[in-house]
Amino acid sequence: MHNSGISIWFFIGLSLFVNGLLITGAGLYEFVAPPANPVVLHQLHAGVWWGAILTTVGLVYCVKFTPVRQA
């Protein structure tokens, strides 16, 4: 799967990276502007750290399986 074309792992990295950025951004916004009806355990700010984990994993996949490096 890595020998020709874009690897499937690159698409997965891209998905995790973009979703991670969106989630981290939303989490940071809620951090500075708390919502009127927060979810349970809002004080843990899961969006911030979970989003950061997804962004990091996605970035690692994107770099490792980037089509330029594959070529």
């Binding site: 799967m1 020709s4 074309g5 874009i6 499937i8 698409f11 997965i12 891209l14 998905s15 995790l16 973009v18 979703n19 969106l22 989630i23 981290t24 951004g25 939303a26 989490g27 916004y29 809620e30 919502p35 009127a36 009806n37 927060p38 979810v39 349970v40 355990l41 809002h42 843990l44 899961a46 969006g47 979970w50 989003g51 997804l54």
Partner: protein
């Protein structure tokens, strides 16, 4: 601040999405379409379109194999079952899946792979002849598009309840997206999206058990809470199975071990072409054997994101969930537990990812159905019965059109179900009729060289008819449950277990009896199809940790330990 339960009661839908949630969902649709367009140039031959070029690594084939079964309805349904029956639902992920996956890897996969068949009906043709293939192919193709339509309607209904989306919008957007990316990229495109879905599901759902266990104070406290709100039997997997009446599911351990573990799961994981097709795309024999083992390794941990949320719901949700038929205005059914837990813990973005995981599960499940239908129609029905000698280009073109037509038939079925809801129950029951007898036929064909074409055909037919007869008998006379499921206390799932067991035994008995009365094929015609007459290619001189048998043993040991811990 409004308490969670009050906020939920005020909402006319389970969850409300924010703009960032919609951004996550739109990005998913854009990505799967982009993958379809990107892969269209790599689906020009029959091998490319129908078998993804047979070049998948063990990881891709294994995760796709697992994902084909990880649909949205599966996730929501089993989370609901965990709420309803407790940790007993985990049996469907452990003994009801892992041994069958390992059996497929080590025993059956070499024969599927060596025979270079395109499908399970294709193997039946090679082993038992055309009549068995036709019975299997026609029933599979028919049931697959119907199931796809039923799932489409069910998912659209879920989207209506959870998000307030219009049913027509959900049906057409999701089905057209699937039609575009499968028609363009073929099986490779379906597999790419299944692996993508696997990661989205974990990314979207793993936060629920993490936050849920934090809220309840860990596993020990969770068990105490469940014992207080339901019963201590809800957190034991085996200790309540000595009698039909001492566990929430109304099932005996023989039903779990012999019905589920030995027959239903074996039938599903080793002969349902929807999942087996993913393994047939592996690039070599070692990858083909490793793929189901990798799938089994991950399958063992799926209860973390399916069963545990159901158990957590039992412990922390302020409202009591009920059966679908007993839901009152403002109330919720068992099947709502996963969306309810998502709404409980997930803020903007995270909620979108969780909903995207459900949509992705649904769409990849539909793509799996459609790609399997396309292959069986083109190779086992169209080429076998209608047009034997067309060019490869013609069959690829037929595959692309069949994809679109298969999706349209599914849409038609979805609208039919909308008019006649009871069709859904019948279609789901019908699908289960074919699984256990088919397993009997295939496994005898692989392991017993004396099995003949007539034996295989009549065994398959009689097994299927016996399964349908038992189901109809209980439907007409509910008291027949005491004979079919061995107890009047048995519930629907228990009935399925025993029905499968008896139909398998009928299939095997008839196959053996007819085979002994008919002339067997000469050994030379069975080479590559039957144990004892086939030299399985060596996987090469690889290190111990690269051998499928090593990882099969590791997975088995972990499975045993987990069952003992949760006894």
């Amino acid at each position: 601040m409004i308490p969670f339960a009050t906020w939920l009661a005020l909402s006319e839908r389970l969850v409300r999405l924010s703009p960032v949630d919609y951004a996550v969902i739109v990005f998913y649709f854009a990505l799967v379409l982009a993958i379809g367009f990107y892969l269209r140039g790599r689906a020009n031959t029959g091998e490319d379109f129908f078998m993804a070029g047979r070049e998948m690594t063990a990881w891709v084939a294994g995760l796709s194999f697992l994902s084909a079964n990880l649909g949205a309805l599966e996730l929501m349904g089993w989370a609901g079952s965990a709420y309803q029956y407790g940790i007993l639902a985990t049996h469907w992920y452990w003994i009801g899946a892992i041994p069958a996956m390992l059996f497929l890897a080590l025993v059956m996969m070499p024969f599927y792979y060596i025979s270079k068949t395109h499908s399970v009906p294709g193997y039946l043709k090679l082993r038992f002849g055309e009549p068995s293939r036709i019975v299997s192919a026609v029933s599979f193709a028919f049931m697959t598009v119907l199931m796809s339509g039923v799932n489409m309607f069910a998912m659209a209904k879920v989207m209506q309840i959870v998000l307030g989306w219009d049913i027509n919008f959900s049906i057409w957007v999701s089905s057209l997206t699937v039609a575009v990316y499968v028609a363009l990229g073929g099986l490779r495109s379906a597999i790419f999206n299944e692996v993508l879905q696997f990661f989205l599901i974990w990314a979207g759902a793993l936060l629920i058990p993490i936050l849920g266990l934090y809220e309840t104070g860990g596993w020990s406290n969770l068990k105490v809470l469940i014992a207080q709100r339901a019963s201590v039997e809800y957190v034991h997997m085996w200790s309540g199975l000595g009698s039909f009446t001492t566990n929430p599911m109304g099932i005996h351990w023989t039903g779990i071990v012999f019905g589920l573990g030995a027959i239903i799961s074996m039938g599903y994981w080793t002969t349902d072409f929807l999942v087996v097709q993913r393994i047939l795309t592996a690039k070599d024999i070692r990858s083909a054997e490793m793929a189901p083992i990798i799938g089994a390794g991950f399958k063992m941990f799926v209860p973390l994101i399916v069963i545990l949320p159901g158990l957590l719901g039992l412990a922390v949700l302020p409202m009591k969930l009920t059966a679908e038929s007993a839901v009152v205005a403002g109330g919720h059914s068992y099947n709502d537990v996963l969306p309810l837990m998502l709404a409980r813990y997930c803020g903007p973005g995270l909620l979108g990812l969780g909903i995207t995981a459900l949509i992705a599960g649904f769409m990849s499940g539909m793509a799996g159905n459609v790609s399997a239908f396309t292959t069986v129609w083109t190779y086992d029905i169209y080429r076998a019965l209608i047009n034997k000698n067309a060019s490869d280009d013609h069959y690829v073109s037929m595959g692309r059109w069949t994809t679109v037509i298969g999706v349209l038939i599914s849409v038609g079925t979805a609208y039919l179900v909308m008019q006649f809801a009871s069709i859904m129950d019948y279609v789901q029951a019908l699908f289960s009729f074919f699984i256990a007898p088919l397993f009997g036929t295939v496994v005898l064909g692989m392991l017993w060289k004396r099995a003949t074409g007539q034996g295989g055909f009549w065994g398959l037919l009689c097994g299927t008819v016996s399964s349908i007869s038992m189901w109809a008998w209980v439907k007409i006379d509910p008291s027949a449950l005491r004979y079919v499921a061995l107890s009047p206390d048995a519930k629907a799932l228990a009935q399925d277990m025993y029905q499968a067991l008896w139909s398998f035994l009928v299939c095997v008995t008839v196959t053996v009896a007819v085979s002994l009365m008919t002339k067997p094929k000469p050994d030379s015609e069975l080479t590559g199809l039957v144990y004892g007459l086939t030299e399985v290619p060596s996987i090469g001189n690889v290190a111990l940790y690269q051998k499928p048998i090593f990882w099969a043993v590791v997975v088995s040991v972990v499975l045993i330990i987990l069952n003992i811990v949760m006894w």
